[in-house]
Symmetry: C2
Subunit: 353 residues, 2 copies
């Protein structure tokens, strides 16, 4: 496995869809202002959206003459609940579509959007196409675990993958991890199953396990894992089909919310508990900080000829900034080029064995 | 839908595998002592295991002459890590196998075990066979949610079900809910998917959704649900394949454990926090009580010609007692008879539409 992410490519412009998020373009402009203050920020950002709105927002932040920012006009906005394929057909001049087109044309090196996930996945796939050797893209994400953060993929792009798709995802997810965390050791990949024995799980898991073993040193595959191991730090990459990953992502968020609301509800029941909670406010803040999804908000759509990063719909400035920084890291460390090389090698090894 | 669980059948004997759990036969005997003090306890319990060990434990609890208890000798014990099919072949006189046989012979009306899950599922299926109309059994379980408890199935018996299996499970799960919670309203069934739109999800989910709509009034089907809705009280039955359910069960437990250990770790960092935690001890206890898996520990293997209930390997006396009481409820409210009638009707409706 080529584990070298130290060589750095120069980062041109990152296209940022300014219109798609729940908090509107103002929050995106605030995110840009935050990002450009960081030492390793991208050299240039192209804000995509309605130019009159964006210029006025940039002016209010005194960024309207900043040479690191330009605005690319797009007159339409795709709403959160529009149907993906239909929205792309009807809104060709939307900020989402234009952001991806800027990547396709080579004018930007990555597109970041907190817009409609389905539309972004469909547009990315249709406009950019998958990289050589890859049939289907995967949506990857970073989760907090017991001993640090881990990558989980696919969380919804491909609900019925073939075994080879999961092998590609293992490679893409490993590069996602390497580009973001820059650790020396190759990230450990676990294949999510219902037991650690190779005989457990369904046909997809068993066939994928066999193929993963053939990839040799391309990934650091430790074998099938079970649900208990998702959060316990045993692996850096949790590999699963897009159905299971999506269900897991959303239900974990639901469980966390339920526990939080239970704690709040119980605290309010007596003045003593409220006093206790005040003494514990640092503790709660620290846990919230560790679990904060804003830190690693950028969920890349991996496996395309170009970088597309999804931030969540309700992303605030910090989350959007984190997604822009993730995009910058992917470009800087040539995620796609490294992954493509490994995937072509893996395809040969899968065939030849 | 026949929602009548008020007619009560008399409960004969419940077979309890005394040897399979992590805490040993002593904990099982303590569970029996607890259970027999309850007002709605079963009339009779057959303890299955090594009789010398069991008699001496019963004697120490002054239960050796209790007419409500007898001991059925079984010389062998299946360990937690033995392979299911092999363990059944090699240990025909094990407490697990004998417990199921007592149900098959009609000497007991249900078998409860905290032994090896795989062996219990295999033995239950091989010895008792599935009920008419059902091809594969399902492992059902009860989870704490925002507005009460809900049933989730399948959590691992059938990782690659056919759509019809999921329809049967919807009926079985509904009867599980009705027998345990005895609510007037028919339980709401949601089909776990990656979005609430019928077009979302994989082939299995789409085909199951179509079949579920054909069952008419046999179940209260509300449509596909997504991960966010698992814990938020939207449904009473979360219906999914055994792969997704198993992963979800184990990963939710893992997430809960991680959060608990994070909170403990953070609390220990300053004396003020420790003081705050003391003030909040009632709050934490109350939440633990609500989420306590012991309350509804019995996970039935549904769809068989007989009642088989799994309690978890590390079950304590309270959890084992809850499993025995669940078994008693299933017998008392004729779970299997009701479910079988509904399933045969559903099979007709699925064919005729």
């Amino acid at each position: 496995m080529n584990n070298n992410t130290s060589s750095k490519s120069s980062v041109g412009s990152i296209a940022v869809d300014a219109m798609g998020g729940d908090l509107g373009p103002q929050e995106v402009v605030e995110a840009i202002a935050l990002t450009l203050k960081l030492s390793n920020s991208p050299k240039h950002i192209t804000l995509v959206g309605q130019e009159d709105v964006l210029f006025s927002l940039l002016k209010s932040k005194k960024l309207d003459n900043d040479p690191r920012i330009d605005v690319f006009h797009a007159s339409e906005i795709i709403g959160m609940h529009e149907k993906p394929v239909q929205s792309l057909k009807q809104k060709k001049d939307s900020s989402l579509v234009r952001s991806i087109e800027l990547v396709k044309l080579g004018q930007c090196q990555a597109a970041v959007s907190c817009g409609n996930t389905g539309s972004l996945m469909a547009c990315g796939t249709l406009k950019l196409r998958t990289m050589p050797g890859v049939e289907r893209p995967a949506l990857s994400s970073i989760w907090p675990g017991k001993t640090g953060h881990f990558v989980m993929l696919d969380v919804g792009a491909n609900p019925s993958p073939k075994p080879e798709h999961l092998v590609h995802n293992a490679i893409l997810g490993s590069w996602h991890h390497k580009c973001i965390f820059q650790k020396g050791a190759p990230p450990k990949v676990g294949l999510l199953s219902i037991g650690t024995e190779e005989s457990k799980g369904h046909e997809l898991v068993q066939a994928t396990n066999e193929l993963l073993k053939r990839t040799g040193d391309l990934i650091n595959y430790i074998g099938p894992i079970e649900g208990f191991q998702v959060f316990n730090g045993d692996v850096d990459i949790v590999l699963c089909d897009g159905f299971t990953g999506n269900v897991l992502l959303k239900s974990s968020e639901g469980l966390y919310k339920m526990l939080k609301s239970e704690i709040k509800h119980e605290i309010k029941r007596t003045p003593w508990r409220i006093a206790g909670a005040l003494l514990l406010s640092g503790c709660f803040k620290s846990i919230k900080g560790k679990l904060n999804p804003d830190r690693y908000s950028g969920a890349p759509l991996l496996g395309l000829k170009g970088n597309v990063i999804k931030s969540h719909g309700s992303a605030n400035r910090h989350a959007i900034s984190a997604a822009i920084m993730a995009a910058t890291d992917f470009v800087r460390h040539d995620l796609n080029q490294h992954a493509e090389e490994d995937i072509l090698l893996a395809n040969e090894r899968m065939k030849s064995s």
